[in-house]
């Protein structure tokens, strides 16, 4: 069986700097894979290559066996890979509901003329999109429903912005979800909620999920498999326990000896 997402000897260089080197990685259907690694290890860059923002220098990215290298980001998302951003990139001036609805552009078809005349297809799509938005926002309990629907995104709290980013990504109806540090900046209670949420996304929506996360409790709680990166190279892969205690991983985080640790800090 082919994996849902497959990175095949993926490399990316900016000028002389190799950000990713010969990375092999796969995510199966309905699987949660965590990517860990120190800051600057190239984790977010991997996301950017998968979603088409950067084009790899070498290697291939395949979604369900088909290469998606060279496709525009919007095309890739339409094919079924949605993402969130580490540095929150919501549509600040749009309401919560509109943020989610805007992500359905690729799955709707009404032309401007149909929309202006409110022809049947435009009306039907609008109803569907509306229902979808409410459904997706309902995933977060009371957090993003009710009066919040019509609030502009910029008034939301930090945690709610992170939730809205996930909701917006879900509205694209993805098969694979890429979450970039979903628990960053959250308090312990909220972090716990995120852990549960990611599990629910897999169980209830049947998604495959690739997560970048620094919080080891989250990683431990959700991962079927963990991949550790350092300097754009995969240094370990396997179960959480195996990776967390892997000497190369410990070294990447803590350094080889006290002097290196001091330099790294």
């Amino acid at each position: 069986m082919t994996a849902l997402l497959e990175l095949d000897k993926l490399s990316l260089a900016f000028g002389g700097l190799r950000a990713i080197s010969e990375l092999d990685l796969h995510v199966d259907e309905n699987e949660i894979v965590s990517v860990i690694g120190p800051n600057g290890a190239g984790k977010s860059t991997v996301f950017n290559v998968i979603t088409g923002i950067y084009e790899p220098t070498e290697g291939d990215v395949r979604l369900a066996g088909e290469s998606i290298v060279g496709k525009r980001p919007y095309k890739i998302t339409t094919l079924g890979i949605a993402r969130t951003f580490q540095s929150l990139r919501l549509f600040q001036n749009m309401s919560v509901k509109e943020n989610v609805k805007s992500a359905t552009y690729g799955k709707t078809k009404a032309t401007p003329v149909e929309s202006i005349l409110r022809l049947p297809r435009a009306r039907r799509e609008e109803r569907e999109v509306d229902a979808l938005a409410e459904e997706v926002l309902g995933f977060f309990g009371q957090r993003l429903t009710g009066y919040r629907w019509d609030q502009p995104a910029y008034v939301l709290s930090y945690a709610n912005r992170r939730r809205l980013e996930i909701a917006r990504a879900l509205a694209t109806r993805p098969r694979l979800l890429l979450l970039d540090e979903p628990a960053a900046g959250m308090n312990p209670k909220e972090t716990h909620e995120v852990t549960e949420l990611i599990g629910r996304l897999r169980n209830e929506l049947g998604l495959a999920i690739l997560v970048i996360e620094h919080d080891m409790h989250v990683v431990e709680g959700i991962s079927d498999r963990v991949v550790a990166l350092d300097h754009g190279v995969k240094i370990a892969e396997g179960s959480y326990e195996a990776v967390a205690t892997h000497p190369a991983v410990v070294e990447a985080y803590l350094g080889r000896d006290p002097e290196a640790l001091a330099e790294g800090a």
Partner: protein, 475 residues
Amino acid sequence: MAQIGVDEWVAQSGGRRDQGTGWRKLLASAEDRVGWWPRLALVVFAGLIAGQLINDVNLQNVAFNGLLYAMLALGLNIAVGWAGLLDLGYIAFFGLGAYGFAVLSSSATGSGGNGGTHLPAIESVPVVVVVAGVVGVVIGLIALRLSGDYLAIVTLFVGQAFMEIVNNIDPGTLGGVNGLYSLDSFHSFGHQVTSPLGFYYLALVMTVALAAILHLLDTSRTGRAWRALRDDQLAASAMTIPVNKLKVMAFSFGAMVAALAGTVFAAQQNTVFPTNFTANILILIYACLVLGGVGSIAGAILGGLVVTIGEQLLSSPNDAGYLFYGLILITLVLRVRPWRYLAAVLAGVVAFGFAARGIVGAISSSAVAGGPGSGGWIGSAVKHYVIVPSSPATYGNILYIVLICALILIVRLHGIRRLLTVIPTVYIAACCWESRLIVNPSITTQIMIGAILIVTMAARPQGLLGTRRVELVDQ
């Protein structure tokens, strides 16, 4: 980190706005109660009543111009307000529409004034609009290879290129600098629009229809996508939105609206000249949009009307005073609080003026020998107030520079010092106005249009009817 209390504070902000005081609250609650369609109907109704009331041909033309600029601002809003693209070539499409109509529906292109093509408007207008749309797509595609800033320069060149082409191409086709004459009026199905009132109604229908269409578009998936890409292009493309396609669409839709406005303009004027499509007109349209509120349909219409009316007032020495002194008074009333200070400032302005004139008059009677430029009762009211020498040109120029320096100074000062500076500044403004500005109303108009852009952007970037936006500045 969640900030304590911020969530609640923000959640209540809507409530706090409703609890505002006085007319603001009334206005806000009235606005909430009335939906979109009733508001549009209200505009139509007001427009029809106005049409019945205005008998003067001049005023009918002014009303037509107001609606024309409203239409132009609506079109500009698509690219600038919704998609966030600074389109400086917009004027070329207005010109394209006008010249297109002139070529398709006039005697101008035939020999001896008898030939030419005389397509009815129902055929020529759609042809012109579609051509403009296609040209818009082509230019949009080129411009899109560039990031936002370069777009401005390429489109600015488009406007310049248009001027160069119509000025220099074979005068037999496009008339060169002399323009094209004797165009048809709008005619279709045996009916034609010829009277100024007829054109006013035509413009009213078109503006309202356009506003309705744009509202429907704004609330559709396309409108949402535009707003998304204006807020964050990268995130939009990661959310299935084909950014480039939508930008080209915005550009091209704007071009079509401009061309449509151009056809009506050409038919109403009966002529087209290259000078109708200069950068000055572009700035005027920008002023309409910015004043009304970038991104807002109602704002674009209001801006078009306000700027046209202001322009009209300025061109008459009797009425210009209303606008000028009225603006000063409104600014003072809105900005000087509490009312005790306001009263003091107003009294100070009056007293300062009479004192200054008294002193200067005592020293040299020729220094106050000139009369005010204003006519009407304003003229007689300020006659013994302002200092205008018998040959006021140089004096007025100096005052103008002093006035600008004083305004800059006011921006820098705060508190009581600012209030004290306001008093002589208002007086200088009045003297400068009476001695120089009102003498050259056309130049004064242009300066004021430029000032609208600068002042609105600094003081109220959302304009009269827009919503304030937040934007993450990413370098």
